[in-house]
Protein backbone atom coordinates (compact mmCIF):
# COMPACT_ATOMS: atom_id res chain seq x y z
CA UNK A 1 0.00 0.00 0.00
CA UNK A 2 1.23 3.45 -0.79
CA UNK A 3 0.06 4.98 2.43
CA UNK A 4 2.68 3.14 4.45
CA UNK A 5 5.84 5.17 4.79
CA UNK A 6 8.53 2.56 5.17
CA UNK A 7 12.20 3.28 5.37
CA UNK A 8 14.52 0.90 3.51
CA UNK A 9 16.20 -0.78 6.47
CA UNK A 10 12.88 -1.29 8.16
CA UNK A 11 11.74 -3.28 5.18
CA UNK A 12 14.92 -5.30 5.17
CA UNK A 13 14.44 -6.08 8.82
CA UNK A 14 10.92 -7.21 8.19
CA UNK A 15 12.02 -9.48 5.38
CA UNK A 16 14.74 -10.95 7.58
CA UNK A 17 12.22 -11.55 10.31
CA UNK A 18 9.85 -13.21 7.93
CA UNK A 19 12.57 -15.48 6.64
CA UNK A 20 13.65 -16.36 10.17
CA UNK A 21 10.06 -17.09 11.14
CA UNK A 22 9.65 -19.27 8.09
CA UNK A 23 12.82 -21.21 8.90
CA UNK A 24 11.75 -21.54 12.51
CA UNK A 25 8.39 -22.82 11.39
CA UNK A 26 9.92 -25.49 9.21
CA UNK A 27 12.43 -26.55 11.86
CA UNK A 28 9.69 -26.86 14.47
CA UNK A 29 7.45 -28.74 12.05
CA UNK A 30 10.25 -31.13 11.24
CA UNK A 31 11.00 -31.76 14.93
CA UNK A 32 7.35 -32.47 15.61
CA UNK A 33 7.14 -34.67 12.54
CA UNK A 34 10.19 -36.61 13.77
CA UNK A 35 8.64 -36.94 17.23
CA UNK A 36 5.53 -38.46 15.72
CA UNK A 37 7.35 -40.46 13.07
CA UNK A 38 10.02 -42.23 15.13
CA UNK A 39 7.84 -44.79 16.92
CA UNK A 40 5.95 -45.39 13.67
CA UNK A 41 9.23 -46.02 11.86
CA UNK A 42 10.09 -48.62 14.47
CA UNK A 43 6.64 -50.15 14.02
CA UNK A 44 7.16 -50.65 10.29
CA UNK A 45 10.86 -51.53 10.33
CA UNK A 46 11.41 -53.80 13.33
CA UNK A 47 9.02 -56.53 12.20
CA UNK A 48 11.13 -56.98 9.05
CA UNK A 49 14.48 -56.84 10.80
CA UNK A 50 16.33 -60.11 11.26
CA UNK A 51 17.73 -58.91 14.59
CA UNK A 52 15.44 -56.17 15.84
CA UNK A 53 16.68 -53.93 18.63
CA UNK A 54 15.08 -50.96 20.35
CA UNK A 55 16.89 -48.48 18.16
CA UNK A 56 15.24 -47.27 15.01
CA UNK A 57 17.30 -48.39 12.07
CA UNK A 58 17.27 -49.74 8.60
CA UNK A 59 16.27 -53.42 8.80
CA UNK A 60 18.11 -56.41 7.49
CA UNK A 61 15.11 -57.64 5.65
CA UNK A 62 13.47 -60.89 6.65
CA UNK A 63 9.99 -62.29 7.00
CA UNK A 64 10.94 -64.86 9.60
CA UNK A 65 9.47 -62.76 12.42
CA UNK A 66 6.04 -63.34 10.96
CA UNK A 67 6.73 -67.05 10.86
CA UNK A 68 7.64 -66.85 14.55
CA UNK A 69 4.36 -65.06 15.11
CA UNK A 70 2.34 -67.59 13.14
CA UNK A 71 3.86 -70.39 15.20
CA UNK A 72 3.01 -68.76 18.51
CA UNK A 73 -0.13 -70.38 19.81
CA UNK A 74 -1.17 -67.54 22.11
CA UNK A 75 -0.56 -64.86 19.52
CA UNK A 76 -2.86 -66.41 16.96
CA UNK A 77 -5.61 -67.27 19.43
CA UNK A 78 -5.46 -63.76 20.87
CA UNK A 79 -6.13 -62.32 17.43
CA UNK A 80 -9.14 -64.58 17.11
CA UNK A 81 -10.26 -63.40 20.55
CA UNK A 82 -9.89 -59.78 19.53
CA UNK A 83 -12.00 -60.39 16.45
CA UNK A 84 -14.65 -62.20 18.49
CA UNK A 85 -14.82 -59.45 21.10
CA UNK A 86 -14.93 -56.69 18.51
CA UNK A 87 -17.58 -58.41 16.40
CA UNK A 88 -19.77 -59.40 19.33
CA UNK A 89 -19.61 -56.04 21.06
CA UNK A 90 -20.25 -54.21 17.82
CA UNK A 91 -23.37 -56.26 17.10
CA UNK A 92 -24.75 -55.36 20.52
CA UNK A 93 -23.83 -51.72 20.07
CA UNK A 94 -25.19 -51.32 16.54
CA UNK A 95 -28.44 -53.21 17.11
CA UNK A 96 -29.03 -51.67 20.52
CA UNK A 97 -28.23 -48.16 19.34
CA UNK A 98 -30.30 -48.46 16.15
CA UNK A 99 -33.40 -49.59 18.04
CA UNK A 100 -33.01 -47.09 20.84
CA UNK A 101 -32.11 -44.07 18.77
CA UNK A 102 -34.91 -44.78 16.31
CA UNK A 103 -37.49 -44.85 19.06
CA UNK A 104 -35.95 -41.82 20.75
CA UNK A 105 -35.95 -39.92 17.50
CA UNK A 106 -39.53 -40.74 16.51
CA UNK A 107 -41.56 -40.95 19.69
CA UNK A 108 -41.90 -38.19 22.18
CA UNK A 109 -41.14 -40.05 25.35
CA UNK A 110 -41.49 -37.79 28.36
CA UNK A 111 -38.09 -36.77 29.66
CA UNK A 112 -36.35 -37.89 26.51
CA UNK A 113 -33.88 -35.03 26.37
CA UNK A 114 -33.03 -35.39 30.02
CA UNK A 115 -32.51 -39.10 29.47
CA UNK A 116 -30.14 -38.45 26.60
CA UNK A 117 -28.14 -35.97 28.62
CA UNK A 118 -27.93 -38.31 31.56
CA UNK A 119 -26.70 -41.04 29.23
CA UNK A 120 -24.04 -38.77 27.83
CA UNK A 121 -23.02 -37.75 31.32
CA UNK A 122 -22.87 -41.34 32.46
CA UNK A 123 -20.78 -42.54 29.59
CA UNK A 124 -18.17 -39.90 30.17
CA UNK A 125 -18.15 -40.21 33.94
CA UNK A 126 -18.41 -43.90 34.63
CA UNK A 127 -15.30 -45.18 32.98
CA UNK A 128 -13.34 -48.31 33.63
CA UNK A 129 -11.12 -46.54 36.12
CA UNK A 130 -13.84 -45.48 38.50
CA UNK A 131 -15.85 -48.65 37.98
CA UNK A 132 -13.23 -51.35 37.67
CA UNK A 133 -13.67 -52.71 41.17
CA UNK A 134 -17.48 -53.00 41.03
CA UNK A 135 -17.29 -54.34 37.47
CA UNK A 136 -14.89 -57.04 38.56
CA UNK A 137 -17.12 -57.89 41.50
CA UNK A 138 -20.29 -57.77 39.42
CA UNK A 139 -18.93 -60.24 36.89
CA UNK A 140 -17.50 -62.51 39.60
CA UNK A 141 -20.85 -62.54 41.36
CA UNK A 142 -22.76 -63.27 38.18
CA UNK A 143 -20.32 -66.08 37.49
CA UNK A 144 -20.75 -67.51 40.97
CA UNK A 145 -24.46 -66.92 41.32
CA UNK A 146 -25.95 -67.24 37.85
CA UNK A 147 -23.67 -69.26 35.63
CA UNK A 148 -19.89 -69.61 35.27
CA UNK A 149 -20.15 -68.94 31.54
CA UNK A 150 -21.13 -65.35 32.38
CA UNK A 151 -18.49 -64.74 35.02
CA UNK A 152 -14.77 -64.06 35.06
CA UNK A 153 -13.13 -65.49 31.94
CA UNK A 154 -16.31 -65.16 29.92
CA UNK A 155 -15.81 -63.40 26.62
CA UNK A 156 -19.56 -62.92 26.41
CA UNK A 157 -19.53 -60.97 29.69
CA UNK A 158 -16.71 -58.80 28.36
CA UNK A 159 -18.77 -58.03 25.26
CA UNK A 160 -21.75 -57.01 27.36
CA UNK A 161 -19.63 -54.79 29.61
CA UNK A 162 -17.98 -53.04 26.69
CA UNK A 163 -21.31 -52.65 24.86
CA UNK A 164 -22.79 -51.05 27.97
CA UNK A 165 -19.97 -48.54 27.99
CA UNK A 166 -20.17 -47.70 24.30
CA UNK A 167 -23.94 -47.58 23.84
CA UNK A 168 -24.70 -44.12 25.25
CA UNK A 169 -22.36 -42.35 22.86
CA UNK A 170 -23.47 -44.58 20.00
CA UNK A 171 -27.13 -43.74 20.62
CA UNK A 172 -26.21 -40.10 20.71
CA UNK A 173 -24.35 -40.24 17.42
CA UNK A 174 -26.96 -42.33 15.63
CA UNK A 175 -29.90 -40.23 16.76
CA UNK A 176 -28.31 -37.27 15.00
CA UNK A 177 -28.40 -39.23 11.76
CA UNK A 178 -31.97 -40.45 12.17
CA UNK A 179 -33.26 -37.00 13.06
CA UNK A 180 -32.30 -35.79 9.59
CA UNK A 181 -34.43 -38.41 7.80
CA UNK A 182 -37.90 -37.15 6.87
CA UNK A 183 -40.65 -39.19 8.41
CA UNK A 184 -42.56 -39.29 5.13
CA UNK A 185 -40.51 -42.27 3.94
CA UNK A 186 -41.64 -44.31 6.89
CA UNK A 187 -45.22 -43.21 6.46
CA UNK A 188 -45.31 -44.74 3.03
CA UNK A 189 -43.88 -47.96 4.37
CA UNK A 190 -46.50 -47.92 7.03
CA UNK A 191 -49.29 -47.52 4.54
CA UNK A 192 -48.22 -50.82 3.06
CA UNK A 193 -48.48 -52.40 6.48
CA UNK A 194 -44.84 -52.65 7.47
CA UNK A 195 -44.20 -53.05 11.17
CA UNK A 196 -41.96 -50.47 12.88
CA UNK A 197 -39.19 -53.01 13.18
CA UNK A 198 -39.45 -53.80 9.50
CA UNK A 199 -39.55 -50.10 8.63
CA UNK A 200 -36.42 -49.55 10.65
CA UNK A 201 -34.68 -52.44 8.96
CA UNK A 202 -35.74 -51.87 5.36
CA UNK A 203 -36.39 -48.15 5.11
CA UNK A 204 -34.45 -46.31 7.80
CA UNK A 205 -31.31 -48.46 8.05
CA UNK A 206 -30.30 -48.00 4.39
CA UNK A 207 -30.83 -44.26 4.74
CA UNK A 208 -28.59 -44.01 7.78
CA UNK A 209 -25.92 -46.34 6.39
CA UNK A 210 -23.19 -43.72 6.90
CA UNK A 211 -24.23 -43.39 10.53
CA UNK A 212 -24.27 -47.14 11.04
CA UNK A 213 -20.88 -47.44 9.39
CA UNK A 214 -19.53 -44.72 11.64
CA UNK A 215 -20.61 -46.36 14.86
CA UNK A 216 -19.52 -49.76 13.60
CA UNK A 217 -16.00 -48.54 12.94
CA UNK A 218 -16.00 -46.48 16.11
CA UNK A 219 -17.07 -49.48 18.16
CA UNK A 220 -14.56 -51.87 16.55
CA UNK A 221 -11.70 -49.42 17.08
CA UNK A 222 -12.69 -48.91 20.70
CA UNK A 223 -12.94 -52.60 21.49
CA UNK A 224 -9.73 -53.36 19.60
CA UNK A 225 -7.85 -50.84 21.69
CA UNK A 226 -9.55 -51.54 25.02
CA UNK A 227 -7.11 -52.98 27.50
CA UNK A 228 -8.64 -52.46 30.92
CA UNK A 229 -11.90 -54.40 30.64
CA UNK A 230 -10.45 -57.64 29.22
CA UNK A 231 -7.44 -57.22 31.50
CA UNK A 232 -9.52 -57.32 34.66
CA UNK A 233 -12.20 -59.75 33.46
CA UNK A 234 -10.24 -62.35 31.50
CA UNK A 235 -7.63 -64.35 33.41
CA UNK A 236 -7.27 -67.27 31.03
CA UNK A 237 -4.55 -66.50 28.43
CA UNK A 238 -6.47 -68.64 25.96
CA UNK A 239 -9.28 -66.11 26.04
CA UNK A 240 -7.39 -62.84 26.20
CA UNK A 241 -7.39 -60.48 23.21
CA UNK A 242 -4.26 -59.06 21.62
CA UNK A 243 -4.31 -55.92 23.73
CA UNK A 244 -3.84 -57.96 26.90
CA UNK A 245 -1.53 -60.57 25.39
CA UNK A 246 0.91 -57.85 24.26
CA UNK A 247 1.24 -56.64 27.81
CA UNK A 248 1.89 -60.18 28.97
CA UNK A 249 4.44 -60.62 26.20
CA UNK A 250 6.57 -57.69 27.26
CA UNK A 251 6.26 -58.01 31.00
CA UNK A 252 6.34 -61.71 31.73
CA UNK A 253 9.40 -62.85 29.87
CA UNK A 254 12.63 -61.51 31.36
CA UNK A 255 13.84 -60.31 28.00
CA UNK A 256 11.07 -59.24 25.65
CA UNK A 257 11.09 -61.16 22.39
CA UNK A 258 11.38 -58.23 20.03
CA UNK A 259 11.00 -60.29 16.89
CA UNK A 260 7.66 -61.57 18.11
CA UNK A 261 6.49 -58.29 19.66
CA UNK A 262 7.42 -56.20 16.65
CA UNK A 263 5.59 -58.45 14.23
CA UNK A 264 2.60 -58.71 16.55
CA UNK A 265 2.42 -54.93 16.99
CA UNK A 266 2.23 -54.46 13.25
CA UNK A 267 -0.33 -57.20 12.67
CA UNK A 268 -2.45 -56.00 15.58
CA UNK A 269 -2.39 -52.41 14.29
CA UNK A 270 -3.29 -53.17 10.69
CA UNK A 271 -7.05 -53.68 11.10
CA UNK A 272 -7.63 -50.31 12.76
CA UNK A 273 -5.36 -48.51 10.30
CA UNK A 274 -7.22 -50.09 7.38
CA UNK A 275 -10.54 -49.15 8.95
CA UNK A 276 -9.33 -45.62 9.46
CA UNK A 277 -8.26 -45.33 5.83
CA UNK A 278 -11.61 -46.74 4.73
CA UNK A 279 -13.57 -44.26 6.81
CA UNK A 280 -11.34 -41.32 5.91
CA UNK A 281 -11.76 -42.05 2.22
CA UNK A 282 -15.45 -42.86 2.31
CA UNK A 283 -16.88 -40.33 4.73
CA UNK A 284 -14.12 -37.94 5.60
CA UNK A 285 -12.74 -38.26 9.06
CA UNK A 286 -15.32 -36.70 11.28
CA UNK A 287 -15.70 -38.48 14.53
CA UNK A 288 -17.32 -36.36 17.14
CA UNK A 289 -16.89 -37.09 20.76
CA UNK A 290 -14.49 -39.54 22.21
CA UNK A 291 -13.42 -42.22 19.85
CA UNK A 292 -10.86 -43.11 22.45
CA UNK A 293 -11.72 -42.95 26.05
Amino acid sequence: MTTKPAAGHDEARQVARKVAARIGFYVASCLIAVFFALPLLWLISAPFDSSPGFAVGFPEFTLSNFATLANNRYAMSSLVNSILLAAGTTVFVVVGAALASYALSRVRIPGRDALLYILLLLSSVVTGTAAMVPLYLLISEIGAGVHPSLGIDSRFAVMLVMAGGLLPAAIFMLKDFIDTIPKSYEESARVFGASPLRTLKDVVAPLIAPGLATITVWSVVNVWGNFLVPFILLRDPEKQPGAVLMQTMYTEAGQPNLALLGAFSLVYSLPVVVLYLFVARRYGFRFHGGIKS
Partner: protein, 322 residues
Protein backbone atom coordinates in the same frame (compact mmCIF):
# COMPACT_ATOMS: atom_id res chain seq x y z
CA UNK B 1 -42.30 -22.78 13.83
CA UNK B 2 -45.65 -24.25 14.64
CA UNK B 3 -46.15 -27.77 13.46
CA UNK B 4 -49.88 -28.20 13.26
CA UNK B 5 -49.90 -30.97 10.73
CA UNK B 6 -46.60 -32.76 10.78
CA UNK B 7 -45.02 -33.74 7.49
CA UNK B 8 -47.35 -31.61 5.44
CA UNK B 9 -44.90 -32.12 2.64
CA UNK B 10 -45.19 -35.88 2.71
CA UNK B 11 -47.53 -37.85 0.48
CA UNK B 12 -51.16 -37.65 1.47
CA UNK B 13 -51.08 -40.23 4.19
CA UNK B 14 -53.30 -39.15 6.97
CA UNK B 15 -54.57 -40.74 10.09
CA UNK B 16 -57.52 -42.59 8.51
CA UNK B 17 -55.41 -45.08 6.62
CA UNK B 18 -53.79 -46.44 9.70
CA UNK B 19 -56.18 -45.59 12.45
CA UNK B 20 -57.06 -49.24 12.83
CA UNK B 21 -53.46 -50.39 12.99
CA UNK B 22 -52.41 -48.37 15.96
CA UNK B 23 -53.04 -50.24 19.15
CA UNK B 24 -54.46 -48.02 21.83
CA UNK B 25 -54.65 -44.43 22.87
CA UNK B 26 -56.23 -41.40 21.34
CA UNK B 27 -55.50 -41.28 17.65
CA UNK B 28 -55.77 -37.54 17.58
CA UNK B 29 -52.98 -36.92 20.05
CA UNK B 30 -50.93 -39.59 18.36
CA UNK B 31 -51.21 -38.05 14.95
CA UNK B 32 -49.01 -35.30 16.24
CA UNK B 33 -46.24 -37.39 17.68
CA UNK B 34 -46.45 -40.83 16.22
CA UNK B 35 -46.55 -40.67 12.46
CA UNK B 36 -44.49 -43.82 12.05
CA UNK B 37 -46.64 -46.18 14.09
CA UNK B 38 -44.34 -46.70 17.00
CA UNK B 39 -46.62 -46.66 19.97
CA UNK B 40 -45.20 -45.50 23.23
CA UNK B 41 -45.18 -49.03 24.53
CA UNK B 42 -43.33 -50.34 21.53
CA UNK B 43 -40.94 -47.42 21.71
CA UNK B 44 -40.05 -48.44 25.22
CA UNK B 45 -39.46 -51.94 23.92
CA UNK B 46 -37.06 -50.50 21.35
CA UNK B 47 -35.11 -48.59 23.96
CA UNK B 48 -35.11 -51.41 26.51
CA UNK B 49 -32.20 -53.57 25.26
CA UNK B 50 -29.80 -50.65 25.22
CA UNK B 51 -31.04 -49.33 28.55
CA UNK B 52 -30.69 -52.77 30.08
CA UNK B 53 -27.04 -53.06 29.05
CA UNK B 54 -26.29 -49.51 30.14
CA UNK B 55 -28.15 -49.97 33.40
CA UNK B 56 -26.50 -53.23 34.39
CA UNK B 57 -22.97 -52.56 33.22
CA UNK B 58 -22.64 -48.81 33.62
CA UNK B 59 -25.17 -47.38 36.03
CA UNK B 60 -25.24 -50.25 38.48
CA UNK B 61 -21.44 -50.46 38.95
CA UNK B 62 -21.40 -46.73 39.57
CA UNK B 63 -24.03 -47.06 42.28
CA UNK B 64 -22.39 -50.14 43.68
CA UNK B 65 -19.18 -48.17 44.13
CA UNK B 66 -21.14 -46.12 46.64
CA UNK B 67 -21.93 -49.21 48.65
CA UNK B 68 -18.58 -50.96 48.34
CA UNK B 69 -16.78 -47.80 49.36
CA UNK B 70 -18.74 -47.82 52.61
CA UNK B 71 -17.77 -51.35 53.61
CA UNK B 72 -14.59 -53.11 54.64
CA UNK B 73 -15.04 -55.60 51.80
CA UNK B 74 -11.91 -57.53 50.89
CA UNK B 75 -11.25 -60.09 48.23
CA UNK B 76 -10.34 -62.84 50.63
CA UNK B 77 -10.49 -63.59 54.33
CA UNK B 78 -13.16 -62.83 56.85
CA UNK B 79 -14.14 -59.48 55.39
CA UNK B 80 -14.92 -61.18 52.13
CA UNK B 81 -17.54 -63.45 53.63
CA UNK B 82 -19.16 -60.95 55.93
CA UNK B 83 -18.09 -57.40 55.21
CA UNK B 84 -19.09 -54.76 57.73
CA UNK B 85 -20.67 -51.48 56.91
CA UNK B 86 -18.18 -48.85 57.97
CA UNK B 87 -19.78 -45.67 56.64
CA UNK B 88 -17.37 -42.96 55.74
CA UNK B 89 -14.45 -44.61 57.52
CA UNK B 90 -12.83 -45.49 54.20
CA UNK B 91 -13.12 -41.99 52.89
CA UNK B 92 -11.57 -40.65 56.08
CA UNK B 93 -8.82 -43.20 55.76
CA UNK B 94 -8.19 -42.25 52.13
CA UNK B 95 -8.03 -38.58 53.05
CA UNK B 96 -5.36 -39.40 55.62
CA UNK B 97 -3.36 -41.63 53.33
CA UNK B 98 -0.07 -40.15 52.06
CA UNK B 99 -0.02 -42.64 49.18
CA UNK B 100 -3.33 -41.25 47.99
CA UNK B 101 -2.01 -37.69 48.00
CA UNK B 102 1.08 -38.88 46.21
CA UNK B 103 -1.04 -40.42 43.46
CA UNK B 104 -3.31 -37.39 43.38
CA UNK B 105 -0.31 -35.12 42.90
CA UNK B 106 1.05 -37.35 40.15
CA UNK B 107 -2.37 -37.39 38.49
CA UNK B 108 -2.58 -33.60 38.53
CA UNK B 109 0.93 -33.35 37.08
CA UNK B 110 0.14 -35.99 34.49
CA UNK B 111 -3.14 -34.39 33.42
CA UNK B 112 -1.75 -30.86 33.53
CA UNK B 113 1.41 -31.55 31.59
CA UNK B 114 0.20 -34.11 29.09
CA UNK B 115 -3.36 -32.99 28.41
CA UNK B 116 -3.92 -29.38 29.39
CA UNK B 117 -0.51 -28.16 28.24
CA UNK B 118 0.77 -30.89 25.93
CA UNK B 119 -2.12 -32.13 23.82
CA UNK B 120 -3.94 -28.84 24.01
CA UNK B 121 -0.93 -26.69 23.15
CA UNK B 122 0.61 -28.92 20.55
CA UNK B 123 -2.80 -29.66 19.01
CA UNK B 124 -3.51 -25.96 18.69
CA UNK B 125 -0.03 -25.16 17.41
CA UNK B 126 -0.38 -27.83 14.75
CA UNK B 127 -3.85 -26.72 13.72
CA UNK B 128 -2.78 -23.08 13.63
CA UNK B 129 0.39 -23.57 11.68
CA UNK B 130 -1.16 -26.01 9.26
CA UNK B 131 -4.22 -23.94 8.47
CA UNK B 132 -2.63 -22.20 5.50
CA UNK B 133 -0.35 -25.01 4.53
CA UNK B 134 -1.43 -27.42 1.89
CA UNK B 135 0.07 -30.30 0.02
CA UNK B 136 2.51 -32.91 1.22
CA UNK B 137 3.60 -31.21 4.44
CA UNK B 138 0.11 -30.94 5.80
CA UNK B 139 -0.86 -34.41 4.70
CA UNK B 140 2.28 -35.92 6.19
CA UNK B 141 1.97 -34.24 9.58
CA UNK B 142 -1.76 -34.92 9.84
CA UNK B 143 -1.38 -38.55 8.87
CA UNK B 144 1.42 -39.14 11.37
CA UNK B 145 -0.50 -37.52 14.22
CA UNK B 146 -3.71 -39.35 13.38
CA UNK B 147 -1.92 -42.68 13.12
CA UNK B 148 -0.57 -42.17 16.62
CA UNK B 149 -4.14 -41.68 17.75
CA UNK B 150 -5.67 -44.60 15.93
CA UNK B 151 -3.18 -47.31 16.97
CA UNK B 152 -4.27 -49.65 19.79
CA UNK B 153 -3.00 -48.40 23.13
CA UNK B 154 -1.13 -51.63 23.88
CA UNK B 155 0.85 -51.16 20.68
CA UNK B 156 1.54 -47.52 21.45
CA UNK B 157 2.69 -48.41 24.95
CA UNK B 158 5.04 -51.01 23.59
CA UNK B 159 6.40 -48.63 20.96
CA UNK B 160 7.24 -46.18 23.71
CA UNK B 161 8.80 -48.89 25.83
CA UNK B 162 11.07 -49.45 22.86
CA UNK B 163 11.71 -45.73 22.32
CA UNK B 164 12.49 -45.10 25.98
CA UNK B 165 14.40 -48.29 26.71
CA UNK B 166 17.38 -47.64 28.94
CA UNK B 167 19.88 -49.26 26.63
CA UNK B 168 19.24 -48.69 22.99
CA UNK B 169 15.94 -46.79 22.97
CA UNK B 170 16.22 -44.07 20.35
CA UNK B 171 14.36 -41.32 22.18
CA UNK B 172 15.94 -42.25 25.48
CA UNK B 173 19.35 -41.77 23.92
CA UNK B 174 18.42 -38.19 23.05
CA UNK B 175 16.70 -37.38 26.34
CA UNK B 176 19.47 -38.87 28.43
CA UNK B 177 22.44 -37.23 26.83
CA UNK B 178 24.64 -36.13 29.74
CA UNK B 179 23.38 -32.93 31.28
CA UNK B 180 19.87 -33.64 29.98
CA UNK B 181 19.21 -36.88 31.81
CA UNK B 182 15.84 -35.98 33.19
CA UNK B 183 13.99 -39.06 32.08
CA UNK B 184 15.67 -41.10 34.79
CA UNK B 185 15.10 -38.40 37.33
CA UNK B 186 11.45 -37.89 36.44
CA UNK B 187 9.88 -41.17 35.31
CA UNK B 188 6.54 -39.38 35.07
CA UNK B 189 7.94 -37.73 31.94
CA UNK B 190 7.69 -41.05 30.14
CA UNK B 191 3.92 -41.33 30.49
CA UNK B 192 3.56 -37.61 29.78
CA UNK B 193 5.41 -37.99 26.47
CA UNK B 194 3.44 -41.14 25.74
CA UNK B 195 0.12 -39.43 26.32
CA UNK B 196 1.02 -36.36 24.27
CA UNK B 197 2.04 -38.61 21.41
CA UNK B 198 -1.10 -40.67 21.37
CA UNK B 199 -3.65 -37.96 22.19
CA UNK B 200 -2.69 -34.81 20.32
CA UNK B 201 -4.72 -35.72 17.24
CA UNK B 202 -8.06 -35.02 18.89
CA UNK B 203 -7.07 -31.48 19.86
CA UNK B 204 -5.55 -30.90 16.44
CA UNK B 205 -8.76 -31.92 14.71
CA UNK B 206 -11.00 -29.99 17.05
CA UNK B 207 -8.93 -26.83 16.72
CA UNK B 208 -8.62 -27.35 12.98
CA UNK B 209 -12.40 -27.27 12.71
CA UNK B 210 -12.65 -24.32 15.09
CA UNK B 211 -10.07 -22.27 13.24
CA UNK B 212 -11.71 -22.83 9.89
CA UNK B 213 -14.75 -21.07 11.34
CA UNK B 214 -12.79 -17.94 12.26
CA UNK B 215 -13.41 -15.42 9.47
CA UNK B 216 -10.10 -14.97 7.63
CA UNK B 217 -10.93 -11.31 7.14
CA UNK B 218 -10.71 -10.69 10.88
CA UNK B 219 -7.25 -12.16 11.04
CA UNK B 220 -6.26 -10.28 7.91
CA UNK B 221 -7.48 -6.99 9.32
CA UNK B 222 -5.51 -7.51 12.50
CA UNK B 223 -2.37 -8.28 10.55
CA UNK B 224 -2.83 -5.22 8.34
CA UNK B 225 -3.29 -3.08 11.42
CA UNK B 226 0.17 -4.21 12.44
CA UNK B 227 -0.69 -6.79 15.08
CA UNK B 228 1.97 -9.38 15.76
CA UNK B 229 1.29 -13.08 15.61
CA UNK B 230 0.85 -13.26 19.37
CA UNK B 231 -1.45 -10.23 19.44
CA UNK B 232 -3.58 -11.62 16.63
CA UNK B 233 -3.94 -14.87 18.49
CA UNK B 234 -4.78 -13.24 21.78
CA UNK B 235 -7.15 -10.54 20.60
CA UNK B 236 -8.78 -12.05 17.52
CA UNK B 237 -8.46 -15.81 17.41
CA UNK B 238 -8.77 -16.87 21.04
CA UNK B 239 -11.93 -14.90 21.79
CA UNK B 240 -13.46 -16.43 18.69
CA UNK B 241 -12.78 -20.02 19.69
CA UNK B 242 -13.05 -19.69 23.45
CA UNK B 243 -15.86 -22.22 23.58
CA UNK B 244 -13.81 -24.75 21.69
CA UNK B 245 -10.81 -24.21 23.92
CA UNK B 246 -12.91 -24.83 27.01
CA UNK B 247 -14.64 -27.85 25.52
CA UNK B 248 -11.42 -29.41 24.38
CA UNK B 249 -9.60 -28.77 27.62
CA UNK B 250 -12.40 -30.28 29.66
CA UNK B 251 -12.81 -33.33 27.46
CA UNK B 252 -9.14 -34.24 27.33
CA UNK B 253 -8.84 -33.56 31.05
CA UNK B 254 -11.67 -35.97 31.75
CA UNK B 255 -10.19 -38.64 29.49
CA UNK B 256 -6.65 -38.30 30.76
CA UNK B 257 -7.84 -38.26 34.34
CA UNK B 258 -9.47 -41.65 33.81
CA UNK B 259 -6.81 -43.09 31.58
CA UNK B 260 -5.50 -46.45 32.68
CA UNK B 261 -3.14 -47.00 29.76
CA UNK B 262 -0.07 -45.46 31.45
CA UNK B 263 -0.18 -48.66 33.45
CA UNK B 264 0.80 -50.45 30.26
CA UNK B 265 3.94 -48.39 29.97
CA UNK B 266 5.26 -48.31 33.52
CA UNK B 267 2.86 -50.32 35.72
CA UNK B 268 3.11 -47.41 38.14
CA UNK B 269 6.81 -47.82 38.61
CA UNK B 270 9.65 -47.52 39.18
CA UNK B 271 8.55 -47.74 42.81
CA UNK B 272 5.46 -45.55 42.88
CA UNK B 273 6.86 -42.80 40.66
CA UNK B 274 4.13 -43.05 38.03
CA UNK B 275 1.33 -44.32 40.23
CA UNK B 276 -1.46 -42.08 39.00
CA UNK B 277 -4.94 -42.42 40.53
CA UNK B 278 -6.19 -44.99 38.02
CA UNK B 279 -3.22 -47.22 38.76
CA UNK B 280 -3.58 -46.68 42.50
CA UNK B 281 -7.19 -47.88 42.36
CA UNK B 282 -6.09 -50.97 40.50
CA UNK B 283 -3.29 -51.70 42.93
CA UNK B 284 -5.25 -51.28 46.13
CA UNK B 285 -8.43 -52.92 44.84
CA UNK B 286 -7.62 -55.65 42.40
CA UNK B 287 -3.99 -56.36 43.28
CA UNK B 288 -4.04 -56.04 47.07
CA UNK B 289 -7.71 -57.00 47.35
CA UNK B 290 -8.75 -54.10 49.59
CA UNK B 291 -11.99 -53.70 47.69
CA UNK B 292 -13.77 -51.42 50.12
CA UNK B 293 -10.85 -49.10 50.46
CA UNK B 294 -10.26 -48.78 46.74
CA UNK B 295 -14.02 -48.37 46.29
CA UNK B 296 -13.74 -45.22 48.36
CA UNK B 297 -10.96 -43.94 46.09
CA UNK B 298 -13.10 -44.76 43.04
CA UNK B 299 -15.86 -42.78 44.66
CA UNK B 300 -13.65 -39.71 44.92
CA UNK B 301 -12.63 -40.15 41.28
CA UNK B 302 -16.26 -40.52 40.29
CA UNK B 303 -17.09 -37.34 42.15
CA UNK B 304 -14.35 -35.42 40.39
CA UNK B 305 -15.61 -36.82 37.08
CA UNK B 306 -19.14 -35.71 37.80
CA UNK B 307 -17.97 -32.18 38.55
CA UNK B 308 -15.95 -32.01 35.33
CA UNK B 309 -18.79 -33.49 33.29
CA UNK B 310 -21.38 -31.14 34.76
CA UNK B 311 -19.25 -28.15 33.88
CA UNK B 312 -18.92 -29.57 30.40
CA UNK B 313 -22.64 -30.15 29.94
CA UNK B 314 -23.41 -26.67 31.20
CA UNK B 315 -21.13 -25.26 28.59
CA UNK B 316 -22.66 -27.39 25.85
CA UNK B 317 -26.11 -26.20 26.81
CA UNK B 318 -25.05 -22.60 26.86
CA UNK B 319 -23.47 -22.94 23.46
CA UNK B 320 -26.43 -24.61 21.77
CA UNK B 321 -29.47 -23.29 23.59
CA UNK B 322 -32.05 -25.69 22.13
Amino acid sequence: MQTKSPEADGPAVEAPSHAGVSAVGTPKAKADTDVVGLGRLRAIGFVAPALLLIGVFLLFPALWTLYIGATNYERSGENHVSPDFVGIDNVTKVLGDPAFYHSLWLTLLFVGLSAVLGQNGLGFALAWSLRNVSGWLRRTVETLVLLAWILPSSVVAFLWIAMLDRDGGTVNAVLNTPGLAWLVEYPLASIVIFNIWRGTAFSMMLYGAALSAVPPSHVETARLAGASNAQTLRDVVFPHIRGHILTNTLLITLWTFNDFTPFLLTAGGPGDDTEIAAVYVYKTGLLDGQLGYSGAISLLILLANVVLALVYLRMLRRRNPK
